[in-house]
Symmetry: C2
């Protein structure tokens, strides 16, 4: 790796001059010098040393993509198809803006804070953080930062977020079930925070509107950590006759349950209806094809980066909290009871 200084010596010119032509500040440099420098640049395949550059400047060209996981409930974040679609879109877009992508996951918020200052990242995309952690992040990091799929405490801080109208989505699909004649609708989730909590709010609103009583008894929890997961699915199976429809908080869960049901002789959707949320590939692929709410994770990733770049360039962000709309996709897992 050749350095600016070395090249300067070769031509017999100062490093400032070389630096200037590298950066196209070529108005005040003679044509000859420019050519000479460009030759060397080619010949020695000059590449800037980012560490040196970053030390000298106050930015870094690094965008950190961070995720705080929970050992007990999360599998590997990146391996989750939904997350990886977001991440893939984020990477593409970061690259398009000529930044570099550093991903950093940790169980500890402190690690994440340290990561950010240690590398002096230019901006941060934080995926799936819960309200309290968002608060701490915002308070302790004075950097451009956009959240994906977060909900926030009402603390007066101005968060930038890209998410989904989760409540509306939960409402829409529940209403659809109700319109199909369903009344005993279970809500199946693994937690009630953030995104999932919002979907539950929508679920409740639709029931209420239809005059259907809301009962915590219809709330079934899945245990995503490996050992108990099968058991919690089995539990849904055991209780399934109490319901005419199941609202699963994600396609992933819906499909897991469908398979368990199918393998145990339950007929879908004749014996029971089931809907998911997300519209992932598996739900499209499985038969009967899953009725669900479609969202577009790639767009989330795309928009997150676009918002972040605006923040980095100190531009106005028109909408602090972008909430994409989910779309009902009717396929074949809901039985129409009232025709």
């Amino acid at each position: 790796m050749i350095t600016i200084k070395e090249m300067a010596n070769i031509i017999g010119v100062s490093s400032t001059t070389v630096s200037n032509v590298i950066h196209g500040k070529t108005k005040e440099v003679s044509k000859e010098t420019v050519e000479k420098v460009n030759e060397l640049l080619e010949k020695y395949r000059y590449v800037p040393n980012m560490n040196a550059r970053n030390l000298a400047k106050k930015d870094s060209k690094i965008i950190g993509v961070v995720y705080k996981y929970n050992k007990n409930t999360d599998n590997n974040f990146i391996q989750d198809p939904f997350a990886s679609e977001i991440l893939g879109a984020i990477e593409v877009q970061i690259r398009k803006h000529e930044y570099y992508t550093m991903i950093y996951l940790s169980e500890e918020l402190d690690d994440i804070l340290r990561f950010v200052s240690s590398w002096n990242v230019d901006g941060l995309i934080a995926v799936g953080f819960w309200p309290d952690d968002c608060h701490i992040m915002k308070k302790s990091i004075a950097k451009p930062m956009v959240f994906v799929d977060s909900y926030f405490n009402n603390d007066g801080l101005s968060y930038v977020n890209v998410g989904l109208k989760d409540k509306e989505g939960g409402y829409d699909i529940t209403k659809y079930l109700i319109q199909c004649g369903h009344k005993q609708i279970a809500f199946i989730t693994d937690c009630m925070v953030s995104v999932y909590g919002a979907r539950y709010e929508g679920y409740k609103e639709a029931l209420q509107e239809a005059g259907i009583p809301i009962s915590e008894h219809n709330l079934l929890f899945l245990k995503p950590n490996h050992k108990e997961f099968e058991k919690s699915i089995e539990n849904v199976y055991k209780r399934h006759q109490e319901f005419s429809a199941l609202f699963c908080v994600s396609d992933y869960y819906a499909v897991k349950i469908m398979n368990y049901f199918i393998d145990n002789g339950v007929k879908l959707p004749d014996d029971i209806s089931i809907v998911g949320f997300d519209d992932n590939l598996i739900g499209q692929t499985i038969r009967p094809a899953l009725t669900t709410m479609r969202q577009n994770p790639s767009q989330k990733g795309y928009l997150a980066v676009e918002q972040l770049i605006k923040l980095i360039h100190q531009m106005e962000v028109e909408e602090n909290n972008i909430q994409l709309t989910a779309q009902l996709i009717v396929r074949n897992t809901v039985k129409i009871l009232n025709k």
Copy 2:
């Protein structure tokens, strides 16, 4: 962000001393000083500036994960479930060794080379590179480097790779089909290079061994770029009566074809048998469940990092080319013809 120098000034001690206690070189430092420094470290939540550190040292603590994609055939690399499982495992393992993960994708090999020297990464994990590019990488980058799922030219260079016994896998599943009485077996792929080429070799070997003639006519190509993809699937459908079984080079393709078939009234496996390769979630989920070769992408990622760390630490790598074994998973998409 407080600096070493600032802390040194506060205590009235040199920055060397502060640096020493930060790095635990505390044998030659008085207890008092150690305590004072540790206090400040705590108080000001000192975090090292990685850019400065990296400039001063010759390493960087960055591991680059690179992928050279092809706009025409690849979708987003990270979004591919198979790739993202590898990537997820890589990230976990990099973190476990306290390195940082920078991902960098490009269509241009040159960009990747520049990326590597620009950031002075300590090591490289290169996923899915083709032989000629491996050669160039190896020639132009003098850094620890491990490949995932690569095959190499016989050029005398010593590559470190983590892959799969693809040929053996192709052989095993073809043999299984033959044992079930199949003779007209199509091989379905999108290209014949590297991994897929090796699987094809295994396919041919099994046919040959059984005295079944090998014909290029049984080789069907899928076009993964969006527009023509549907058409190429349709083509498989049109020709399916020529075959009693289809060997798809990936589960992804197998499932796509299954769905097309099912939606067009073809009975699986009664009308035609189909097998995949990989054993991904969709193949497990779809009904009938897909017969396939299982491989373990997480283990690939894990091993790739382990190998790389050994290289970085200049340790002996026992096995230059780790080839994991794929395992036949018999499920329900192959009809037994000879019972």
